[in-house]
Amino acid sequence: MEVMGNNIDVSYGDTSILKDVSIKAKDKKFVGIIGPNGSGKSTFLKCLYRVLKPNGGSVYIDGKELKHISIKESAKKVAVVAQHNFYNFDFSIEEVVMMGRSPHKKNMERDNAKDYEIVNKCLEKVGMKDFKGRSFSTLSGGEQQRIILARALAQETDCIILDEPTNHLDIKYQLQLLDIVKELGLTIISAIHDLNIAAMYCDYLYVMKDGNLMIQGKPKDVLTPKLIKDLYEVEADISEDKYGRTNIIYYPEHIKRGDKNENSNSSL
């Protein structure tokens, strides 16, 4: 499935939040959007998943304009895992995942055996099968995000949008969640904070700053010390490890860049 946002403009009153941003996610590609806080990543994604109506521009799913697709239909095509949000309800995890089936159900239709089967399969995919029967509120943050991912999977969509889903998660759960997503072979559009993780998982990167699209391309081509300096005002070094993977090392102000040779040897 191909998802496209063309010339998206968003403004609140006189303040322009997004200026003419176009992004394209090709079939089965993992597309990342990076940029500092407030650069408009989430705002853009919200336009894709219909929580926000852009003031200009349009979104296309497989060539069809989003305007002409019902909310129910688009929920069968695009699922969302948003920033970590707590629900303080005593829903069991099966009940939460079952909600992912709602776009496929008619108003008065009951859950059937197939729905339960799908719920089980999705729980298995995210490695939460053993947690069956637990209530959602008793899970840790990482576990909760995996359940929300399972709910997105239960929608049986070809595309998943990740709106900084790994915020507040420790590194183990960040990698675990993204590993699961990467394995799915779906079209993925994700806002990502951590540049090392973006480099590791994304096939293609869009870089945003102040509501503008700055640059786009393969992670290796996009991520340069200059870009990082421009974006975040942080000095950085980029190297490749023996497997050809990108590593970014940051140099905050208290570590002078000139000292980097000594620094790379002693972590003190």
């Binding site: 998943y49 219909r50 929580v51 909310i71 129910k72 239909e73 688009s74 929920a75 069968k76 695009v78 699922a79 969302v80 948003a82 629900y87 303080n88 309800f89 005593d90 829903f91 069991s92 995890i93 099966e94 009940e95 909600m99 992912g100 709602s102 776009p103 159900k105 108003n107 008065m108 069956k132 029967g133 637990r134 209530s135 959602f136 509120s137 008793t138 709910r151 929608q155």
Partner: protein, 357 residues
Amino acid sequence: MEKTNRGIAEKTHLYVMLTVFLLVGLVLSILIAVTIGSTRIPFNEVYKVILFRLFGVGDPVLYGTGALHDIVIFIRLPRLILAVAVGMGLAVCGVVMQAIVKNPLADPYILGVSSGASLGATLAVMLGVGTFLGSNFVGVMGCVGAFAVSLMVLLLANVGSRSNSVKLLLAGMALSAVCSAFSSFVVYFAHDKEGMMTITYWLMGSLAGAKWENIVIILPLVIICTLFFWTQYRVLNLMLLGDEVSITLGTDLTKYRNFYLLIASLMIGFVVYASGMIGFVGLIIPHVVRILVGTNHKRLVPVSALLGAILLVWADVLCRVIIPKNELPIGILISMIGAPSFIYLMARKSYGFGGKQ
């Protein structure tokens, strides 16, 4: 942590058992309650009258006419059946309102319904508005007031931008203030002590006015609305997740919220008409049931309906017998007993809207 892990899904059989238990409990409650009253009637006589009415079995002279027959058929039974309808209606509306405004403090009267009803009743009692509506014109005016205010809340919340939970609550509060101000205004200038007493009593709620001709409308209405809301469990669940998540799950909540509010107001309007304002049932029952079966509306709606019905049947029995030769207004009794039990439940379990908050 482990203690709160209650494994709701594994309790499916428990839920089924609970539902069956409550259903049997409701029938038994009615059968027992019908034998209790200020006039002592042997219970086998009571059942013989009912059997005669239902199936025509027994002696028509003994069980088809007379004081015994009239007490059972025209006084006790209608009250009990009305208690079932009112309890069910209040509990289900409580569940629905809490979902609509996404707020655990909501009860059936929250969106201006109570002050609308009392304004209607005040106008009826003090100024005689609507006397042409028949003997229960106070009830009719209360019902009209309640429904009219709900409609206005709905309109007001949809002005400008689309309605949401917060706008509904604010519109409800604003209109409540307007209605109570007008009620007070009327009461203040009417100088009618007796009228004030009438209003006060009416606001306390009572099932004493039960009549079969009302019940044949209210009971089916409440049951149909309850069944309707039961089928809507999926949307009601989504309401607790909020608008943004619901859109990504393919449901635009706004139209459902408006529609549900309309149906719930209709139900509440009829309940107010039949029984005045009975508080607390619609607030406490949904919370108690969440503690029992969890937040899923697939279970919450039917169990609340049954528990609400049982509660009101017994509350009404208590009202009739607790003070000899006198009847306690049911609203007072329910709050007096209900509130402390609810506080106990809350204190015993760490509980907020069906989770930990």
